[in-house]
Symmetry: C3
Subunit: 309 residues, 3 copies
């Protein structure tokens, strides 16, 4: 890969880049953060343009650029409601105008699929997709993958159960794309009937020869997988998650699942988590989601460093 | 003029200041920005206090102070809804309190006419009016004028058509005040009957001896003017723009207008633009509005430098 | 007291700390601010996490850290509406995640009593309570006390009338706790029947042997007290303030009260003030509330310096 510019979708990264460039640099960034940061991106200007709220993602990007010596020069957390967008301005025009104000990178959270790609077509400066509606959330997928690599020791030859709202869950979509880069992997899509993984991803997996199975009962696969990736019931993503009859589907992580899981397996979750993970799980050492969130800082620092230096 | 302090309304500037101080400094600021900025306002503290949203205006001020080495020390983008104002605090009290926190300048966007003037009466530090309801938006008017000067080569002896919602359009009101400073100018106010320019401006123009005409069909003057200044249909400014029968008024910029316009005329718009400019216009070299937005950065840098250094 | 870490409630401070450490340092901070600040907290990172709006409190904290050379690395002004909280995330989880991003201090405004204490139980970095619902607002109480000390010359042996909505008023609750640290004080709780001081505070005062009286007519005590602490009619705190028949209660500060007051008494108010203080009072030299707001900057600078250096 050449020098990293826009970050739009998970598919753009290859295994070599991930294993030989991103992961080692993220590990290095952890050391840098622990030592209080580095001035390596001194003078670099970041805009965070969020059309829908995300405390965690915005905070991790803004604190990442600070730890690298750069600056947030403009930040808005609900551009849809509070900006020119409310006056009917297109995303493309907003990006063109912000380009005229000398930023070095624009971190964009958009509320419709394809937003980041549209922004990139008109932007001279790099666009980082921080989530675009039901589309992708590639930096989340990268931090998910980095967490698996760090905790399990590898991504190749691992099996993962993706659980819950797979229809609207951006993170599992992006992660599925990334999983195709690694040999020997197996994916279990575990969801109620109403929120199954969409065909585009399944077709992509078939095309790439990645094995996957679908089911609606996490208990049936919990003992077999290295990773359980639980997702959130996303009320705000449009439409309520229709609950199946309990006899038919089982998509919660609780003590019963903990009892079934391998000793060295891990539980991931993009957070925030609500009732889809039972309170007793938080105390289990396999509950990896808070370390996963922290890894988000290191991965974003690594990406910013690659893009801006 | 003495040292610049508050920026409240377009009328406060004279032609000498504009042509001999502001415009040359804005041009210089463009060079400064292209070279990555200057630390000349190092340590200077700016507050952006916005009572209604404006991504573009807030971004350009915040990025301007950064390019000059200063800092945004407090920023709020919807003070009306999210602040003490919601608890009934007067603007004057808010300004008095913020003065006690050692800012060097307060950039104020207020949602009622006269807000900046009221703020200035109680503020020890300079107030910059970044728009006050249906009142003025003087820095927009200055960047508009700077754009005309830069693109046409002069403001004197130019003719301009101001088009659209002239009743509520802050920018055309402020720009009209500024136009009176220059000899040989001619203004055409082109609008539907429901949104004609208000009498206060027309009386002011008469008093200053500036020629103007009113009409409702842009086609009739498009071939004659140096500048077409299109405005936005401002739904959020209160009341819907009542549309005239199409036979009666023509206030859109489209291919028909492009065909009529002089080759070296320019089209300005305060942005965001929606249906009042047809999509085909964006690609025409006379569509100057994105460069105009960029000039906003340079003009605001120049003003901040004059006020704070 | 050992080194200051979390600031959760007014009770945690003793008189020695207040008189020998905090007040002298706040006085020193005033000099520092007047000289343009100090780089003593260079590199320190502050998060302002506000679940409900407060222009003044947020501004004073953010400008305080800047004057000390530190930085705001992440700021949100309505976390309840615009963040993961809207997706059901607990405060504890949000705090845990933000801890993973290397802040040095988190300033928290929460919308439910007990929020700061809950945050402190899971946070490795110091939490500063910037108000938690109807609970406490300890830095406000500290600045109130500092203002009394500075203006009257002492806190011991002073009498104070706390007036208005004493049921929901966070500031008078916290200030009452602090008053128990000083000998010879007397408190008058003056309120309509519907918004009397709650029993927990009155029990605490009895336990500590602090004299207090309750009443509903400020005129009866105005000539006797050194401090009138007026509070705001807090519509947004839940429930409208039920107004008593005017014959029965008198809880406004107006010319009649000014005429009764001692010449060197002071009027405090946490601001914003609305109709509970008549307009004519603002011009009286005993109206101390704008200096009180300014003192907030110095007290917060002092607290940040103690916590972070």
């Amino acid at each position: 890969m050449g020098k990293l510019h826009h970050i739009i979708e998970a598919q753009q990264f290859d295994r070599k880049f991930l294993e030989e460039e991103l992961f080692p640099l993220a590990r290095e960034m952890e050391e840098v953060a622990k030592k209080g940061g580095t001035p390596c991106l001194s003078g670099k200007r970041m805009i965070t343009l969020f059309y829908e709220p995300s405390t965690r993602t915005r905070a991790s990007f803004e604190m990442a650029i600070d730890l690298l010596g750069g600056k947030v020069v403009f930040s808005t957390e609900n551009a849809r409601q509070f900006s020119s967008a409310a006056k009917g301005e297109t995303l493309e025009d907003t990006i063109k105008i912000l380009n005229g104000y000398y930023p070095d990178v624009i971190v964009l959270r958009y509320d419709e699929e394809g937003g980041a790609k549209r922004a990139a077509t008109v932007s001279k400066v790099p666009i980082i997709n921080a989530g675009d509606g039901t589309g992708q959330h590639p930096t989340q997928a990268l931090l998910d993958l980095y967490t698996i690599q760090k905790e399990i020791g590898r991504v190749s030859d691992t099996s993962i159960a993706m659980v819950g709202d797979l229809t609207r869950g951006r993170t599992v979509r992006s992660l599925s794309y990334l999983y195709t880069k690694f040999p020997g992997v197996k994916i279990y899509f575990i969801s109620p009937e109403a929120t199954k993984m969409r065909d585009d991803i399944k077709d992509y997996l078939k095309e790439k020869g990645v094995g996957f199975e679908e089911g609606n009962d996490l208990r049936k696969v919990a003992s077999r997988v290295d990773v359980i990736y639980q997702t959130r019931t996303q009320k705000e993503r449009g439409g309520l998650l229709e609950k199946d009859n309990e006899k038919e589907s089982f998509c919660v992580v609780n003590q019963e699942i903990l009892n079934l899981m391998k000793k060295d397996a891990i539980i991931l979750h993009p957070l925030p988590h609500v009732e889809e993970i039972a309170p007793e799980v938080d105390g289990d050492k396999r509950a990896t989601y808070f370390r996963q969130a922290e890894n988000g800082l290191y991965v974003r620092m690594a990406l910013l460093k690659m893009i801006l230096s």
